[in-house]
């Protein structure tokens, strides 16, 4: 199967169940809202070393923020509810609350909740106030620019993490162009984020290492400089590989993000699109590339 001359490999991405949360971060203007949301989702590229995977997203078309001010969505994914609470507490407390004019609300209608504002309220040193509005409790924490408004609890859902695809290209220039086009298209998919810097991974990994105590190492079969020294998965004419990892609040969001991303990545200089998996026996979710692009 080919799209614009680019081969779509007959393979699949293997993804895993995670817990997901969606925050709405608002500010006096969109710039301040983005500042807060991006600070909160920074250093969250991989669950392996960052505690969670996170990123920002535009609000859905027609979606209003609870306070009517400009806002962005911040999506966070991690391995357990307990860890989600810890991550949200840290990130909202250290990065959203500290950001000028910010406020933070739950952006997910979910039955399961973790308490965030209900714990951050103590920063108010006894002067915090709460308001119950439409069944949602909002905390007003006194701060130097007025008040930080934060919702008591945030919803968490069982989500999907680790959707992915690889772009093999004749040059780094071509790979970058494809990756950037893919990320731009994927950013429009609500409920999905690409947690790596700029949405792109350059240092994909494999789950083995020659070093004792190290569990992951560089994905050497896909490293072009090692062709000749190591068994290579690259074909002749392939000189660079970039990967995009996507997490989503549900399977459909990941599938849609991958679909639009792959379609956008099929540009001149790209030889094929592939995906990473573990043989299919570890992850609960499989995204077959050819099926995705056929829909």
């Amino acid at each position: 199967m080919h799209i614009n001359g680019v081969e779509i490999e007959d393979t699949f991405a293997e993804a895993f169940g995670m817990w997901g949360s969606r925050l709405i971060v608002t500010g006096d203007d969109l710039g301040w809202a983005r500042t807060a949301a991006e600070a909160a989702t920074g250093f969250a590229t991989s669950i392996i070393g960052c505690g969670c995977e996170a990123g920002t997203n535009d609000l859905a078309p027609g979606e209003l923020t609870p306070d009517g001010r400009p806002g962005v969505a911040a999506l966070v994914f991690t391995t357990s509810r307990k860890n989600m609470e810890a991550q949200l507490l840290q990130r909202v407390g250290q990065a959203v609350m500290t950001s000028a004019t910010s406020a933070c609300y739950d952006g997910l209608a979910a039955e399961e909740k973790v308490k965030v504002g209900g714990k951050l309220r103590y920063f108010g040193d006894g002067f915090q106030r709460s308001k119950l509005l439409d069944g949602r409790r909002l905390w007003r924490v006194p701060v130097m620019d007025g008040e930080f408004v934060v919702e008591e609890s945030f919803g968490v859902v069982q989500a999907v993490g680790g959707g992915n695809f690889f772009m093999m290209a004749a040059s780094l220039t071509a790979a970058l162009a494809a990756a950037q086009a893919a990320v731009a298209a994927m950013r429009a998919v609500p409920g999905a984020i690409m947690p790596f810097p700029g949405g792109v991974v350059r240092s994909g990994s494999k789950v083995s290492s020659r070093y004792k105590g190290q569990h992951v190492s560089s994905n050497t079969p896909y490293c072009p400089t090692l062709r000749g020294q190591e068994d290579s998965a690259l074909r002749e004419g392939e000189n660079a590989v970039l990967e995009i990892v996507v997490d989503g609040l549900d399977e459909a969001a990941v599938a849609e993000a991958m679909r639009v991303g792959i379609a956008a990545a099929c540009l001149p200089g790209v030889t094929r699109i592939s995906a990473g998996n573990y043989g299919g026996s570890l992850g609960q979710f499989h995204f077959a590339l050819r099926e995705l692009v056929s829909t």
Partner: protein, 285 residues
């Protein structure tokens, strides 16, 4: 603030209609005129429900022409100025009054919705704990207030008054939201424990007297405050935008636009701990 959104008279699928047979100034205690009491009853059984007409115990059907069945949508019409306690204790359904209504409307209600397409008497929503009351005209005194001698009043729900209201709106309220788009009399929020009172017109003098916590917001002319209230700052309260956004989204209040302005914050009543607040829109901004 914008005008109250018109609560359309729901005629299609109307359940029960009650029409007052004749005008009278003799008080009627009509706590049986409540959707909860109509569940499973036909018009004959509804007409047989008891009411007090002055000091005489009579049947609802003696005073009202009753038609239809079903408790979800009740419409009451006619001269109701002397009819008290309509919707008292209701927990479900929608009750519409097509004109003016007497006192104690929706007292102790815990759910459902009451809409009055005219004026209401005193004690609208006294001690309510849930649900919604919309009075398109004026309301009397003690809207959402606690009865005399009761330490705590309203515990939840929303009351919207499209016109003016009398004194002691939200007295001793514990939770919930009261919005008066017109003017209020004195002592709004007296003894408030929590909750929120918004006044679109002129907030009467000495609001929040004795308040422990809670929020009173004056969108109109600055009120005369007690000396036990201290000025804190002028700021843009984000939480207030959440309320106005919610009221507009629910269609209760039509907006000319969110009041993205500065409010002067006064904290008090210092005689009661000083943790309440009166926010006054800064008209100079």
């Amino acid at each position: 603030m914008g005008c109250i959104a018109c609560a359309a008279l729901v005629l299609d699928g109307a359940g029960v209609t009650l029409t007052r047979r004749e005008s009278s100034s003799i008080p009627v205690e009509a706590d049986s005129l409540c959707p909860d009491r109509f569940v499973g009853l036909g018009p004959t059984e509804i007409a047989a429900l008891p009411v007090f007409y002055g000091r005489r115990k009579v049947e609802l059907g003696d005073l009202f022409e009753v038609e239809g069945a079903g408790a979800d949508n009740v419409i009451v019409s006619g001269d109701l100025k002397a009819v008290k306690k309509i919707g008292q204790g209701m927990s479900m359904g929608r009750l519409t009054v097509t004109g003016d209504v007497g006192p104690h409307l929706g007292a102790y209600m815990s759910g459902g919705e009451i809409v009055v397409q005219g004026d209401a008497g005193d004690w609208v929503g006294a001690h309510m704990s849930g649900g919604r009351i919309v009075v398109q005209g004026d309301a009397g005194h003690f809207v959402g207030a606690a009865y005399s001698g009761e330490p705590r009043g309203v515990r939840g729900g929303t009351i919207i008054v499209g016109g003016n209201a009398g004194r002691e709106v939200g007295a001793r309220m514990r939770r919930g939201l009261i919005v008066v788009l017109g003017d209020t009399g004195e002592f709004a929020g007296a003894g408030m424990l929590a909750g929120s009172v918004f006044v679109g017109g002129r907030l009467g003098g000495r609001p929040g007297a004795g308040m422990k916590r809670g929020t009173i917001v004056a969108f109109g002319e600055a009120p005369e405050l007690l000396p036990t209230f201290r000025y804190a700052c002028s700021y843009r309260p984000v939480f207030l935008r959440c309320y106005l956004q919610s009221l507009e989204a629910s269609g209760l209040i039509a907006s000319p636009g969110l009041p993205d302005g500065e409010f002067r914050r006064y904290v008090g009543d210092m005689n009661s701990g000083g943790r309440g607040e009166v926010l006054v829109r800064d008209q100079s901004q």
